[in-house]
């Protein structure tokens, strides 16, 4: 079976309290950050952190209530500011201690959090 087919289904559930410790361990183990994305689900947000080491992919998935504020991972992977600002701008995901916080203006959106509009 191709490596991508094995990796593409490699989703591991994680609690938000474990996130920073887990990513710190993965970075020490040689993993790089591939991408972060949010999905709006009935429970709130589902956030996936895709980590890669030697072309082997690990997707960490955490589900949080919409009002929960999660820790920024920019202290571990500075490059994550791209994704964290995107999630903040488009979905309104609350993230604290971002190394580079555009305050909702990284994307030039015409209305706040267009992919999760406030009622």
């Amino acid at each position: 079976m191709k490596q991508n087919i094995i990796n593409g289904k490699n989703f591991v559930t994680l609690a938000s309290s474990e996130l920073i410790e887990k990513l710190t361990d993965l970075k020490a183990d040689g993993y790089r950050l591939g991408q972060i994305c949010a999905t709006k689900v009935s429970e709130g947000f589902e956030i996936i952190y895709s980590m890669d080491k030697d072309h082997s992919l690990l997707n960490l998935k955490l589900t949080i209530p919409e009002e929960e504020e999660i820790m920024s991972v920019t202290g571990v992977y500075w490059a994550a500011f791209i994704y964290e600002n995107e999630m903040q701008d488009l979905f309104g995901v609350k993230i604290k201690h971002m190394a580079l916080n555009y305050g909702g203006h990284f994307f030039k959106v015409s209305e706040p959090t267009p992919w999760n509009p406030k009622k």
Binding site: N4, G8, N10, T39, I48, W78, I82, F106, P114
Partner: protein
Amino acid sequence: MGKRTIIPFGPQHPVLPEPIHLDLVIEDETVVEAIPSIGFIHRGLEKLVEKKEYAEMVYVIERVCGICSFGHGWGYCAAVEGAMDIQVPRRAEYLRTIWHELSRIHSHLLWLGLLADGFGFESLFMHTWKIRETILDILEKTTGGRVIFSVCKVGGVRKDVDAETLKEIDEILAKIRAEIEELKEVFLEDDSIKNRLCGVGYLSKEDAIELCAVGPMARASGLRLDMRLNGDGAYGELDFEPVVTDEGDCYGRTKVRIFEVLQSIDLIHQAIAQIPEGELSVPVSGPATGEFMARIEQPRGEAYYYAKGNGTKFLERMRVRTPTNMNIPALVKTLQGCDLADVPMLVLTIDPCISCTER
């Protein structure tokens, strides 16, 4: 510390065909900080997946970008096929590989032309794009489109390429190879070009890892990072080793891309020699279920495609993470300390595709 001035770079600039904005904080003529902002033309295409059936969505995803369009279609199909456990026929995998490598050639030639234009070498720009036209002609002949092909579908491909046409493509590419070899000599040996590229925008291997750089940007800094190594499509059956160099500067990134053009010609040659007979696609029906994170190597680097089904004909989530997106942090870091005059060259050498980034 001298007086600091902020110079806006973009969203409109001669080296930028698409809008990205950088606030360049400069001290004398040296950039000390670069603050990027994007989203001027963000289209929200990912969100459209809630209104387009998953089989139709491929037409939208192909329009994420006008250069690496085929790769986006393939990446999306791979994600849906992975989520729904669909096995694509071998001939379709080979055809996808051939079209993807042709796309890589035309993308790299387009970039090399833009680079030549950027440093004022007009005749080199025109010569490079003249060769690229031949590739576009091949794409037009085999798919009907020069930029958007619409040949990829969930479950396989829509069109076949007959043996005679494949032989003809092989012969055309053999002729082009000689022309690319000549181009290579100019791009890599000409003194005036080397003066503009060597030592500019250095990114160390450690920084490339730290900043999660991808594609030619990472490979020019010594990282052996290429999603084709995963063996998708026909890559697992082709003799292939990524082009890696350790210069880490604009010259290194140019070198990687020009050698990758030659490598793509080799890969197509191998694929044409080995392509099996067989079906072009398998029937796909029913609601989308499951989830899958697919990755492919676009001309600009690793791209992610996430598909999540919810048991209906619409996907719950579709995510496209494009390579330019991931190279922005590396760009910001390499801009620090460079001369203001080198900023356009440096921005060009990440091969920014803002259309991809503004998916």
